[in-house]
């Protein structure tokens, strides 16, 4: 009788462990679709940055839209706004915040060493930057909108003027 109650205690612990595993699996899988969407966004942002950079260096003005810069299949999570002929803003919407922290398999031994490490989000500043920083947008982003204002000609005047005035002036 004592033996039976002894083993049933371990069965109970095992079933609790199994229930925790199933719960954590469901929780993890529920985030799979948003992770996939974020990965697609992060991948596309590299193409957008390359094409925008090529366009601005070839034309010396910023495009009206992403389509004007021949950038196709842009997910709705990436939004482009032309602010002026020399300035644009790109907003990228992520469903999850990036988390550079990962405990790793040894975290049980070193758990307290990583105590309370907070991820820092450097993406999404309103200060204009001379280049489109895709690295921080891909790896240091917060949940929701992360906007970057880019002023490609911040430190150099465009050699050609924007299309509206390009008929009248051309500089070296």
């Amino acid at each position: 009788m004592k033996n039976r109650s002894g083993i049933s205690k371990y069965y109970l612990v095992f079933f609790i462990l199994l229930a925790v595993t199933i719960g954590l699996t469901i929780y993890t899988l529920s985030g799979a679709s948003s992770a996939k969407e974020d990965a697609r966004t992060a991948q596309k942002i590299g193409d957008v940055a390359n094409n925008l950079s090529n366009f601005t260096s070839n034309h010396n003005y910023v495009p009206e839209s992403l389509a004007a810069a021949d950038i196709k299949n842009v997910p709705p999570s990436i939004k482009y706004t032309k602010i002026s002929d020399t300035k644009y803003q790109v907003c990228v919407n992520y469903r999850n915040a990036s988390t550079p922290f990962d405990g790793g398999w040894t975290s049980l031994l070193t758990g307290a060493l990583i105590a309370g490490s907070n991820p820092s989000y450097s993406a999404g500043t309103s200060t204009p930057s001379p280049f489109f920083d895709t690295f921080t947008l891909a790896y240091y982003h917060k949940k929701g909108d992360n906007c970057q204002t880019v002023e490609p000609f911040m430190y150099s005047s465009p050699t050609l003027s924007a299309p509206a005035s390009s008929d009248t002036s051309t500089s070296i």
């Binding site: 083993i7 985030g31 922290f101 990962d102 070193t110 758990g111 307290a112 105590a115 309370g116």
Partner: protein
């Protein structure tokens, strides 16, 4: 006097002579193949799956506490947990039933080797984490900016529940057996 007592002299059987057979030299050491007992192998498998489960659980809960709750942060430890839990449970219950039928199994050397090694690993995990937590508390009173003490306490609690739980289980069991 044995043929190779003197280390400076080459043994006669190496000088073109035939090597003596065990019959001719009965006390010559012979290599022995060391193997685990039948249940010893099962204890080894159970211990490895216990470690896998414990490390995966720690990884998951520490990630959750420290804000890494995304799919990409959890998919690897969850896979390890799904692998480890059923194997550990199967071996644990199977061996526990065998121990109830034959209590002498609890004292088997290969079992004790694994349980004692597990206790050492669990003890080290608790020791390192308590030490680092105290350091974090001390540093909190200093001038340097420190991470959240609440999170540090949470991290420590997770390690103590997992590693401390394993250590206390085996500790109680070991001391129960030692009692006359």
């Amino acid at each position: 006097m044995f043929p190779n007592d003197d280390q400076n002299e080459e043994a006669p059987y190496l000088q073109g002579h035939k090597a003596p057979t065990p019959k001719e030299d009965p006390i010559k050491p012979m290599p022995v193949v060391k193997v685990l007992s039948t249940h010893g192998l099962e204890y080894a498998m159970m211990t490895i799956s216990l470690w896998l489960t414990a490390f995966a659980l720690g990884w998951i809960f520490l990630n959750l506490i420290n804000g890494s709750r995304g799919y990409d942060n959890l998919v690897v430890p969850i896979s390890a947990l799904i692998t480890g839990v059923p194997i550990f449970g199967l071996f644990f219950i199977r061996l526990h039933l065998a121990e109830m039928r034959n209590p002498a199994l609890r004292l088997e050397a290969s079992r004790r080797r694994w349980t004692q090694l597990t206790q050492m690993v669990a003890f080290l995990a608790c020791l390192i984490n308590v030490g680092v937590f105290i350091y974090a508390v001390m540093k909190h009173f200093g001038s340097e900016p420190t991470p959240s003490l609440g999170k540090a306490a949470g991290d420590l609690a997770i390690v103590l529940v997992i590693a401390g739980g394993i250590l206390s289980y085996y500790w109680r069991e070991e001391h129960r057996q030692a009692r006359p």
